[in-house]
Subunit: 342 residues, 2 copies
Amino acid sequence: MKRKITLKHIARELDVSISTVSKALKNSEEISRDTKEKVQAFARLYNYKPNNIAISLKNKRTKNIGVIVPDIVHHFFTTVFRGIEKYANAKGYNVIVCVSDESFDKEVINMEMLANGSIDGFIMALSAETQRKNDFNHLREVTEQGIPLVLFDRVTDEIRCDQVIIDDRAAARDATLRLIDNGRRRIALFTTETYLNVSAKREDGYRQALEERGIPVREELILRLPYQYEEENLSGVFFRDQEFDAVLCVNEIFAVRAMRLAQQQGLRIPEDISFIGFTDGLLSRYSAPTLTTVAQHGEQMGEAAAKMLIDKVEQEYDETDARSYRTRVIPTTLIERESTAL
Amino acid sequence: MKRKITLKHIARELDVSISTVSKALKNSEEISRDTKEKVQAFARLYNYKPNNIAISLKNKRTKNIGVIVPDIVHHFFTTVFRGIEKYANAKGYNVIVCVSDESFDKEVINMEMLANGSIDGFIMALSAETQRKNDFNHLREVTEQGIPLVLFDRVTDEIRCDQVIIDDRAAARDATLRLIDNGRRRIALFTTETYLNVSAKREDGYRQALEERGIPVREELILRLPYQYEEENLSGVFFRDQEFDAVLCVNEIFAVRAMRLAQQQGLRIPEDISFIGFTDGLLSRYSAPTLTTVAQHGEQMGEAAAKMLIDKVEQEYDETDARSYRTRVIPTTLIERESTAL
DNA sequence: TTGTACGCGTTATCAT
DNA sequence: ATGATAACGCGTACAA
């Protein structure tokens, strides 16, 4: 077993001092050609690579960034993660991922775990529970320690930090307007039961669009669903009892399931009823009919977040402490597919 | 800004030595109650937490594990990752994720980056390119350095290490047998064009099932598709020209797209033609009709992999160097849904 | 009961 | 041109 070699080993073997080896490997001018060649040859032979941990300790920089997301088996978060990883990797950073599982406690524990030197900064989307509790002390502690933090998607304004978001309100408004312009008048909204910032904003946008067009908002057309709802006792009834000709859904799963139910009720899509969802994932692309959806461009969000974070990490701390926090709004795109193709 | 506090700060402040502080915080018997209380109070007040990096350097243990996957925006890998993260976290480990993007070079670079002290062990699924090139020197180097490695799903037998896999051959065989037992005789196979171990094994299983039942394998029923194929010039033609009554697909995207094409040709599912896919993801659950699929239980695979890795990391190295490498086969489950419901 | 010294691996500064 | 020393933060064997 070829154990990892260190400067010390090389020094001992070549009978020079550790610092000589260190300098030789960096091609320092102070070292003679002879020794440099000797050392470098030896190092190459034994495949010497500096120990990351030692360098981290010395530099107080880990070149790691911590990412905490509520869920990883989730197209949107995965997409954002890909953007983060791609950018970070290109900049020589590694990414440590923790999953909060929508739990406040896990979020706190993970943050504390990573905050003790493991990472140079955080990128995160808040757990549902955190948003519900409105308790952000763990975030505050971290930022007060001077650790850069970038929030994305599930954010809060209670903490001074960078943010990367989409304009959920505008996106929902645009989507709703599109339905209206397509001649739809009785537009339902299927949203989540649990409180999420984003759902709330999407609902705002939905309401705003209706009001703008002088269409009264009918509260009975707004359906708040738990994540794992049973088809029968909810939408089934809903579809039979209510009359509507379009549905805006805050995610694609709701949309696809709703389309299925509508079809089972004998409704034709998009002739009788049209659908728009959020999150342009696999379901939207491969459902039958394919689903018109608001693309959030997660990868772009991830890249933006990583860029903001790494910029902050690498900027000298003393830089005129003019800590300005920025919010980047990534534009959404309405991707039109069959579910609204009139 | 409350900077992170160290033992040194506490020692200076309380006018004791660093080691006294260190011991006091561990409630050592050698330290007087007085000092202990004083130190602990101070530490709590300033929220002292030991620096992970320093501890890693000292212990030569990082409590990090490295995960390298070909793709993260992918249901199966995500699911495995969740299992890894869950188990690792429970054991106090963090997970560093790198994406090889199916590229050999990126896989090598990421491995080397992490192997220099950043992690205690690797869990990975090989990139397509690595499998194609059959070049595993990067894996060999790492294992020769004594870094534990667990391969999952996309594995190789060229490297002595632990493995977590499903029995792809058996799963495909069972699925095919199920189709045969349902009275299907002209069963097609839709598989990937790029060489992957798993696809090859699934094809084996498919062939074996047919042979077992005395059904001749018709090569023209085996379709090898690129990942991003165009509907028109491939399956479209295929569906018109060929006659078959069932399709086994090596992933769920192929299955869902194929179902759609079949429906467009006027075929009824499952009456005229039935489908089985691999990977029990969202598409299988929410497609219309819902898709019968081979569940790979990724989360369980992830947990198993993490357990094997951490066991190895934590076992003393000198333990009778009886390095036995184990292969865990996670049983698959055929989840029957509408696409085969006769 | 407390403190000193050393080591983990590296680099930077300051001798020689 | 080379080497000794200190420092990053921590833990521990040993000395006082």
